[in-house]
Subunit: 356 residues, 2 copies
């Protein structure tokens, strides 16, 4: 099985630690390793076969990728000249893998999520790979633990197989982020799973699905495959920007007939904002997620990232986020942490691009 | 009239901007000038006679005093080898002034308060100086504007004179910091004034009062006066530490028979903590007191000091204090700003003296 780590994201929700030049996947938001490094290690294990590991990232972040993954062969590091969402990125990876093995199975995984139980993830991926061997496009469904309204859900259909002790289901449907009541119904129903953006498929099956549902993308990928086959190294810069910017979920997954799902309980979190850190990090006795040189007095439920070489003293606060960096500091109530984009919009309109 | 600015304080409530090596009076907590500089300018005006201006400060802060007040003759800068509270400091200044003019009138003023209306202060001081000329020890009573429980009060007695249009009263009594209900009664009664630590007296009258009520201090000051008269420059380091550490309020003012009071409405604030900054600083439309490179979004009633060369972004906060410095940052709700000493106690017990 090939593993493709999707590292092209440019999220803003971890500002001020994340910046345009340093997106979330390159940060050690949790623990010591950058999330991208952890994603690689989680997917293939410490001794995994790097020759079948690919990473798709933005070309602007090439030095970060190389520093983060010195053990991955350079030919396996794919760089998008511009971001075009996930469908072109996965198509690009499929083209590259198909040149090596047209019927290979590939697992596509995010680079900026946290996996608490990597062996459980790898077991689910192995089952999904078995299920994918006969042509299904398999998604990993995360067993929900709360009525989350921030994720898309996968409605599970009937069970079709068992691989390595793991059940495989038909996908009944993909559903958009629900409202609160809907999410509570999904949780209670038991047959709804979180869509974590993890897919396993034979590359010829995915390319066929793209031909069927995204013909414009398929045509562009065909041109790209031919040019790369000719050794035309300029093709990427010329062809990639013209590919249609679309997500694989909307462009392909929601349309294919042969979608399957393997459930997983692998301690997954997308760590969507500073507010989510307490889900994935050891807490102190008052429920604070603290990193670095922080001094908390009578403070609870807070997130304090104090890794900029300066003491951060927080006294008498509840559910607050404080993030210190060398040139910018953020203070926001935890429940409003996702609104950090408002700060970025103001910085942009003030022309303070250095801070973005 | 001589003016004596008391700059020996070592308060901790403006940490992390204030430090042991850099107390509040040397900081530009409000506006551009250090509070000590503003105190001098407020007391004597921009063109005032520096030859009659004295400053009493801790010897550890000599370089700060000299940098802050280059226009004050070095002989007028008095340094305490150790802090012994206000009675010895005022006694020391009286000894120094008495060597020049034994019957001179002196006004003693704090260095770390804020005066919104300096001409009103100077008018009150002038009236107090007239009242002091016949031997009274005069205190400036600040007209209260709220039922403050953090200050001592002066109960006004009968009016005894008018000087320069300003009434002079006998002091009925000095009263300790009241409880809330008591403070409300004082405010409603109209004859209670805040004790701001501003006194005006003839130095021979003050030295006589010290002889009467603090004989041990008087004896020490006598030795000091004789030694300084002999040109014994080591006397201060030898004698000063042995003086009894006592406040002038408790040691003298509350005991003298001839205490008088001149009321003043001069926009006074002792700026006792970060929480008090909005009293003395222009506010933005949402009632925030902001300095430096701060970006506030949907934030109100807060104090943000962002003068450490870094952007401080505060989103969605109410009544919060955020103070950034090069090596330490403080976040605390405004209503708990006075508890910053808890942080300092922990830093001290951790041996992090560089940060104190």
């Amino acid at each position: 099985m090939f593993v493709v780590i999707m590292a092209g994201g440019a999220g803003t929700r971890f500002w001020p630690r994340s910046r345009r030049r340093l997106p979330k996947q390159f940060l050690n938001i949790v623990g010591e390793r950058p999330l991208l490094r952890a994603a690689v290690d989680n997917a293939i294990g410490a001794d995994g076969d790097r020759s079948r590991l690919l990473v798709v990232a933005g070309s602007a972040h090439r030095p970060l990728v190389e520093r983060c993954l010195p053990d991955v062969p350079p030919a396996n590091l794919l760089y998008e000249p511009v971001g075009r969402n996930t469908a072109p990125a996965i198509g690009f990876a499929c083209v590259e893998i198909a040149r090596r093995d047209a019927r290979a199975v590939a697992a596509v995984l995010p680079s900026d999520h946290v996996i608490g139980d990597p062996p459980a993830l790898r077991a689910a991926l192995a089952a999904a790979a078995s299920a994918a061997a006969d042509g299904a496009i398999v998604t990993i469904g995360i067993q929900p633990t709360r009525p989350e309204t921030g994720y898309g859900y996968i409605a599970r259909g009937e069970q079709t197989a068992v691989h390595g002790g793991q059940p495989v289901y038909r996908v009944s449907s993909f559903v958009e982020k629900p409202g609160r009541e809907q999410a509570e119904r999904y949780l209670a129903a038991g047959n709804y799973f979180w869509n974590a953006g993890m897919f396993v498929f034979r590359v010829d099956a995915m390319l066929a699905a793209i031909r069927a549902h995204m013909p414009e993308l398929a045509a562009g990928l065909q041109q790209l495959a031919e040019a790369l086959g000719r050794g035309d190294s300029d093709a990427l810069a010329r062809l990639y920007p013209a590919l249609p910017a679309q997500s694989i979920d909307y462009g392909v997954m929601e349309r294919v007939e042969n979608a399957a799902m393997v459930p997983a309980s692998c301690g997954w979190s997308d760590v969507g904002s500073w507010a989510a850190l307490p889900e994935v990090q050891p807490l102190d006795a008052a429920g604070n997620a603290v990193s670095g040189d922080a001094l908390l007095v009578d403070t609870a439920g807070s997130v304090v990232d104090a890794r900029a070489g300066r003491l951060v003293a927080v006294l008498g606060c509840r559910d607050l986020v404080v993030v210190d960096t060398e040139d910018a500091l953020l203070v926001v109530p935890r429940e409003r942490a996702q609104e950090v984009r408002q700060v970025l919009a103001l910085l942009e309109s003030d022309g303070r691009t250095r801070l973005l």
